[in-house]
């Protein structure tokens, strides 16, 4: 079992994205590609499957060239059957493989909901731990380019609702590599949600393989006046908002969830107790979403520490628009975060 030999980064490193001094900088895209390549090299049971994953573009560059190295049996181009592919991958996982299922867009995953919810999520439980489905699903969310209602959703809350599934949302290249490797190493089925706008982000990423365990958030910036809890792309908007607030002498703390389920409740509670104020910024919708869960954790467990109402920055309750003008109105930015902070300070 090659996976037990990899170093785990169990820390909630305070700070920032890593700078270039210690290690080479690579992009989020290359960090994912490197994780996949290392997983394929380390463990012959790992294989990738998805529609067109071996095409020259290679899923935004994240699978580029892997078929040439590992062959089409391990970098498998699949028939167009999302539900089928998921079920087949689950079967292979249960037979001892570690499949990585790749969906160009999270929007295609609703086709495999039965396989995920009724099968992958349930088997460990139903078989008293005998059957494991070590399955990783990479799904991509995004913003813009008129991708619109059926190609641009942010569905993390759907998966996070289901006991038996885990949902990770890396915001940085370091996390993208470590969370993906951690997910492939894990025996629980895991959905890793990437954001298209992050593929060009760069950060210092160690060359060797390492694992970030699920359920560990991180502090991106320390602060004392207000906590902004965010994930994925919204971490960057939160950091910009913190910059803006800093100019006004307000010290904002930015917490990156990294893991939507399991949720790092301790980190959220500690931050809220420290600052007394909470804004949650999510890439998804508000109703029954990740932001609701984070706010509930604060209400249930850090209530005495709260000095003001919680604010949530989410998508408006409407499908994603196609027109650029509507898109602009649709997606929240750092300005809304900063404005919300102004309301509760």
């Amino acid at each position: 079992m090659p996976w037990t030999r990899i170093q785990a980064d169990d820390s909630r490193r305070p700070g920032i994205f890593r700078s270039s001094h210690a290690v080479r900088e690579i992009s989020y895209r290359d960090a994912i590609r490197e994780a996949l390549s290392q997983a394929l090299s380390m463990d012959p049971d790992v294989f990738l499957i998805g529609e067109g994953i071996d095409d020259p573009g290679g899923v935004f560059g994240t699978t580029k060239g892997l078929r040439e190295v590992f062959g089409s049996e391990r970098v498998m181009d699949s028939p167009i059957a999302e539900n089928g592919m998921t079920g087949v991958a689950i079967g292979a996982a249960v037979a001892g493989m570690r499949p990585v299922l790749i969906h160009m867009r999270v929007d295609f995953l609703p086709m495999s909901m039965d396989q995920l919810i009724n099968h992958a999520a349930k088997w460990s439980y139903m078989t008293g731990g005998r059957v494991k489905a070590p399955l990783t699903i990479r799904a991509i969310i995004g913003r813009g380019w008129g991708s619109a209602a059926q190609h641009s959703q942010s569905l993390q809350a759907l998966f996070a609702h289901i006991p038996g599934l885990r949902v990770l949302m890396p915001a940085s290249p370091y996390d993208a590599k470590g969370l993906l490797l951690g997910s492939i190493a894990s025996d629980s089925p895991t959905v890793v949600i990437e954001h298209r706008w992050l593929y060009d982000q760069k950060e210092g990423v160690p060359e060797e393989a390492y694992i970030i365990p699920a359920g560990r958030g991180t502090i991106r910036r320390e602060g004392t006046d207000i906590s902004i809890v965010a994930s994925s792309y919204m971490v960057y908007e939160a950091l910009r908002a913190a910059d803006e607030l800093g100019k006004k002498g307000i010290s904002a703390e930015v917490v990156d969830l990294r893991s939507v389920f399991p949720l790092d409740e301790e980190l959220i509670i500690a931050s809220v107790r420290k600052t007394g104020r909470l804004i949650v910024a999510d890439t998804g919708w508000r109703s029954c979403g990740v932001s609701a869960e984070v706010a509930a954790v604060a209400a249930e467990k850090a209530h005495a520490g709260l000095k003001a109402p919680v604010r949530r920055i989410c998508l408006p309750p409407a499908p994603t628009p196609a027109s650029p003008a509507l898109e602009q109105a649709y997606y929240p930015t750092f300005q809304q975060i900063a404005a919300a902070a102004g309301e509760i300070l």
Partner: protein, 351 residues
């Protein structure tokens, strides 16, 4: 430009034993007398178990139960064609398969009694979790076959589903994958003519279910599902073909669900007595017994011995199942993930 036929398919139907127990000797599968005896014993055990489970349900001692009466030959004949290392993917009506593979009987009763520990499949049995969602497990067998092929293990996956299951997308996706990648999987469709109250004609306009395989580039065959010799022969050939790396096969076992869909159903509301009576005459056990009698294998004494053994096993299973101590509530959390989440760890302490 003239029109021409560029592809056509034909569907074979295999019958070996008739209702009087007479066999077409030219088609006989290779089975020793000992194996025939063993098959008969399994048959009796499966039927005895099924009968008991129905009674236990009526007495309120287990929950809803899906009977297999009439389908035993389809189930036992196919399962018997597998090696121990092969994998089985059952649906909810495969108690005959489980019995044939030596699944602990008390665990089957626990399962139908609502105790999930009944499907914690013992490590030595390559049997997958029972799938209640119709047809959706077809894909898992295909994935397992993909893993076997990739790892160059010579194991075969066999998946069971009903006539109703063939209407699900998962069935078609699974068949397509298996054909495309020539995977070592055997699809066993028990066409028992009914999907609860929906008749076979309402599932598809195809004349046979076997022919669906041709669309996916491999062979489909229909067998008399009440003829254990025909079922075994077709299954053995399909398993060997898969093991040789020659790809999948679909076997349609043409049979009949003699009992209600489950104990929660009343089939007399939607099907005629005449139909049921016509199938009663084709009982799979009777003809097998007559065949064994003509071969000098079956005697009254043998029947008595087999009946007693079966009763003893089922009695014991009933006792073991009913004396099991209750599951711990914390089991709910213990197995939901491969390891506990932080929140679950706290909740475990609270139980």
């Amino acid at each position: 430009m003239p029109e021409k036929i560029i592809e056509s398919c034909s569907v074979t139907r295999l019958d070996i034993l008739n209702e009087k127990g007479e066999a077409d000797l030219s088609l006989m599968p290779a089975l020793t007398d000992d194996q025939l005896r063993e098959l008969y014993e399994i048959f009796i055990l499966a039927r005895t178990f099924d009968h008991r489970a129905l009674n236990l349900q009526r007495e309120g001692r287990i929950g809803t139960y899906a009977p297999i009466l009439g389908q035993e030959a389809s189930q036992i004949g196919t399962a018997y064609a597998l090696d121990k290392t092969d994998w089985i993917f059952p649906s909810f009506r495969e108690n005959g398969v489980l019995v044939a593979r030596g699944y602990p009987l008390h665990m089957i009763l626990q399962y139908w009694g609502g105790d999930e520990r009944g499907i914690k499949v013992p490590d030595h049995l390559n049997i997958f979790t029972i799938s209640i969602p119709v047809g959706t497990h077809v894909l898992h067998a295909v994935g397992s076959a993909m893993a076997a092929k990739y790892r160059d293990e010579k194991t075969v996956s066999m998946v069971y589903f009903g006539d109703g299951g063939t209407s699900e997308g998962d069935f078609h996706e699974g068949m397509n994958f298996a054909g495309t990648f020539r995977l070592p999987v055997v699809f066993v469709c028990q066409n028992n003519q009914w999907a609860i109250s929906v008749p076979r004609e309402r599932q598809t306009a195809s004349r046979t279910l076997a022919q669906k395989a041709w669309a996916y580039g491999f062979e489909g065959i229909q067998v008399d599902g009440n003829d254990i010799l025909a079922v075994y022969k077709a299954a053995k050939a399909a398993v060997e073909k898969a093991r040789r790396g020659e790809g999948p096969t679909l076997i349609e076992c043409f049979t009949y669900r003699m009992a209600d869909h489950t104990t929660a159903d009343d089939a007399s509301r939607y099907r005629t007595k005449e139909q049921v009576a016509a199938w009663e005459a084709r009982d799979p056990l009777l003809r097998f017994r007559l065949f064994l009698e003509m071969k000098g294998i079956w005697t009254e004494a043998f029947q008595k011995e087999v009946d007693e053994k079966a009763k003893q096993k089922v009695d014991e299973a009933e006792k073991t199942a009913e004396s099991a101590v209750h599951a711990e509530p914390s089991d709910m959390l213990a197995y939901t993930y491969a390891s506990l989440t932080p929140r679950q760890t706290k909740q475990m302490r609270d139980f």
